[in-house]
């Protein structure tokens, strides 16, 4: 088990949540999402996003509409559906818990130290 592999596993788990987060306020088209995820260093190969978007759309969490662009052909703009928003709210809760747990476990020695004193 090397570090890269572990990182990629973590990213994979996070990707779905992050995509939904990105789309919460701004409907975007695939290349926008790619750019933002890349900036956040969450995406290694771009192609991974497309199957994910299609799956989320088929699950009813996302919807898209065609919009004319200033250059080139019309683009698919993805946005959250209502179901998606509920789902995201659920994930938010889960993330908070997870994040708290991780932070708690990371800092547990500090707490122990304080209590020991």
């Amino acid at each position: 088990m090397n570090i890269e592999n572990a990182k990629s596993q973590m990213r994979k788990g996070m990707l779905e949540y992050c995509v939904l987060l990105l789309l919460k306020h701004h409907p975007s088209y695939a290349s926008d999402i790619i750019q933002q995820l890349k900036d956040a260093e969450l995406l290694v190969v771009e192609g991974t996003l497309y199957p994910l978007l299609t799956r989320l759309k088929n699950d009813g969490l996302l919807r898209y509409e065609w919009q004319e662009s200033t250059q080139g052909p019309p683009r698919k703009y993805y946005a959250l559906s209502e179901e998606g928003e509920q789902f995201l709210a659920g994930l938010d809760g889960a993330w908070m818990e997870l994040s708290n747990t991780v932070n708690y476990l990371k800092n547990i020695h500090l707490i122990n130290n304080i209590e020991a004193k």
Binding site: K12, A30, S31, I34, V44, V45, E46, G47, T48, Y50, P51, L52, L53, T54, R55, K57, N58, Q71, G72, P73, K76
Partner: protein, 542 residues
């Protein structure tokens, strides 16, 4: 310098190098194949294609005139290979394998098959152009089975040189030892047949298929790049000598094939013309056809046994057409006009050809058998003519000649054909009895005006006795002169001064002792070419 083409990707036009195009094409194809299995796969592939077009647009905007293979490789790394993308919800493959128990021959065989399949998995059999001594046939097998070509070569050499030593005793074991043929030659021929039958990989995709590697963009790129570098062929001194010999043989082979092809074409045309003639022209059996199938009486047979006749005709045409097609196809593919046949296609044609041959030959044998039986029945069948049984030919002859049988006893036949007046097919009166016991008398009556006549005729006889006679006012007899040369010996004879005061005259031949007054001592006699001529009116009555 590279060939450059324009492609239309999602409605936008791009200039792209040919090798880059090939790589891109394969990439998109493999994406489609890999996503095709899952729900919405086509949509995903479409989206990715859209993305590629967008990236190309960016390149264009940055001043790139033509997209090169490096650009495509960059994009592939950026977007990812199909196996990286499809594995989003990968399940770990079952690592555990069930232990095999050889409890029956069947499972053992299956096991061996599986092992072989694992070695040849995903591979296609090609000749290997990169490691060859002659045509790369053995090397191709080596790549296919994942073994070392050297072993194949050693094995083949042993088979080639030693086969007559150890295969003949083997044959003798099965009581087939009397076969006289050379195994050595067979193996040489086998090599050449395989060299023709096995294709060479022409595209990078086929190179990968030969090696059994997945057709992935990376692998394709490797092959494309490898291909550009000068190919280093492992070929020794012996190999180059062989390759010269091989190319000479190949040239001879092409010439020979062209020759055979023309021959086949001519044969096929003649056969088709003959078949059409046989079925459209009534009584074509008598015509001399370019391809002699008249004697088979196909039109008569087809009404009785349609399927056998159709099998024969279709089989015959296919037997000739398939090699012709194969030769034309081969010559065209050598000239680069068409793509060479795949191995499956080749095997299919060979199977069809064998099927055609194997149905055509028994059908032909059967038809010939029918014909022979029919013919034998025909010549032994007896027909009645004026109360006498005889062959159809004899009856036809006597009826046409208007011969009346006065007596016909102990005769073997009544007409015959032989060399007369330079015509070997002309029939004439002819009777035969081995013991000279034939009693035969036949005559013909002609209506005439009263007058004086003479009768000319040609006769021959093996012994004394038979006569020619004329009945006018009186009966006139003339013995046939005995032939000095047996077989031929026709003599032209005349009976003159025949006085006829009635309105008809009868003439004929007789070997009846009661009529001629002479015992018959001839095994056979013949007569023909009777010609009656009037010389004048009746002499003035006294």
């Amino acid at each position: 310098m590279k060939k450059n083409i324009t492609i239309n990707l999602c409605g936008r036009l791009f200039q792209i190098d040919e090798d880059a195009y090939e790589l891109l094409q394969n990439y998109i194809e493999s994406l489609r194949a890999s996503f095709g299995k899952q729900e919405g796969g086509a949509e995903i592939a479409d989206d990715i294609e859209e993305r590629i077009a967008e990236l190309f647009d960016e390149l264009k905007a940055n001043g790139t005139e033509a997209i090169t293979i490096d650009h495509v490789k960059d994009i592939i790394t950026r977007i990812g290979k199909p196996e990286e993308l499809a594995g989003e919800e990968d399940e770990t493959p079952n690592g555990e394998k069930e232990g095999h128990r050889y409890d029956s021959f069947h499972t053992a065989a299956q096991d061996i098959r599986e092992k072989f399949r694992a070695r040849t998995a995903g591979k296609r059999l090609f000749r290997n152009p990169n490691d060859k001594m002659l045509a790369g046939v053995l090397s191709g097998f080596a790549v296919y089975t994942g073994t070392d070509a050297t072993w194949w070569r050693i094995g083949y050499a042993l088979l080639l040189l030693g086969s007559n030593f150890f295969l003949f005793p083997l044959l003798r074991l099965f009581h087939l030892g009397s076969f006289s043929f050379s195994f050595n030659l067979t193996f040489v021929l086998l090599y050449f047949i395989l060299a023709i039958a096995m294709p060479t990989p022409n595209t990078p995709k086929q190179v990968l298929e030969m090696k059994g590697k997945d057709v992935t963009p990376q692998n394709l790129a490797d092959v494309v790049i490898e291909d550009k570098e000068p190919v280093q062929r492992r070929r020794g001194c012996l190999g180059s000598v062989f390759s010269v010999i091989f190319s000479i043989l190949a040239a001879i082979f092409i010439g020979f094939a062209t020759f055979v092809g023309i021959g086949l074409l001519v044969c096929l045309l003649l056969i088709i013309i003959s078949i059409i003639v046989v079925f459209t022209v009534p009584a074509a059996s008598g015509l001399s056809l370019p391809f002699d199938i008249g004697y088979l009486h196909l039109p008569e047979l087809i009404s009785v046994h349609p399927w056998i006749v159709i099998t024969f005709i279709v089989g015959l045409v296919l037997t000739l057409f398939i090699p012709l097609y194969a030769i034309i196809h081969m010559l065209l593919s050598k000239a680069g006009k068409v793509q060479a046949m795949g191995i499956g296609q080749r095997i299919l044609w060979i199977v069809i050809w064998l099927a055609a041959l194997c149905s055509m030959i028994p059908a032909l044998v059967w038809i010939q058998q029918q014909e022979r039986e029919h013919y034998t029945a025909e010549i032994t069948k007896k027909y009645e003519y004026q109360g006498v049984m005889m062959s159809q030919e004899d009856r036809k002859f006597l009826r046409r000649g208007d011969w009346n049988l006065i007596k016909a006893e102990n005769c073997d036949h009544y007409s015959y054909s032989g060399y007369y007046e330079g015509n070997p097919n002309l029939r004439f009166l002819d009777v035969f009895n081995e013991n000279c016991e034939e009693v035969f008398q036949a005559e013909r009556r002609e209506a005439v005006k009263p007058g004086v006549f003479y009768l000319e005729f040609s006769v021959r006889t093996e012994g004394p006795g038979p006569c020619v006679y004329v009945i006018g006012d009186s009966v006139m007899l003339k013995s046939m002169p005995v032939s000095e040369t047996p077989g031929m010996g026709w003599v032209r004879t005349v009976i003159e001064n025949i006085v006829v005061s009635g309105d008809s005259i009868a003439y004929g031949v007789s070997s009846d002792e009661a009529f001629t007054g002479q015992p018959c001592r001839a095994q056979w006699f013949s007569a023909t070419d009777f010609k009656l001529t009037r010389t004048g009116d009746l002499p003035k009555s006294k």
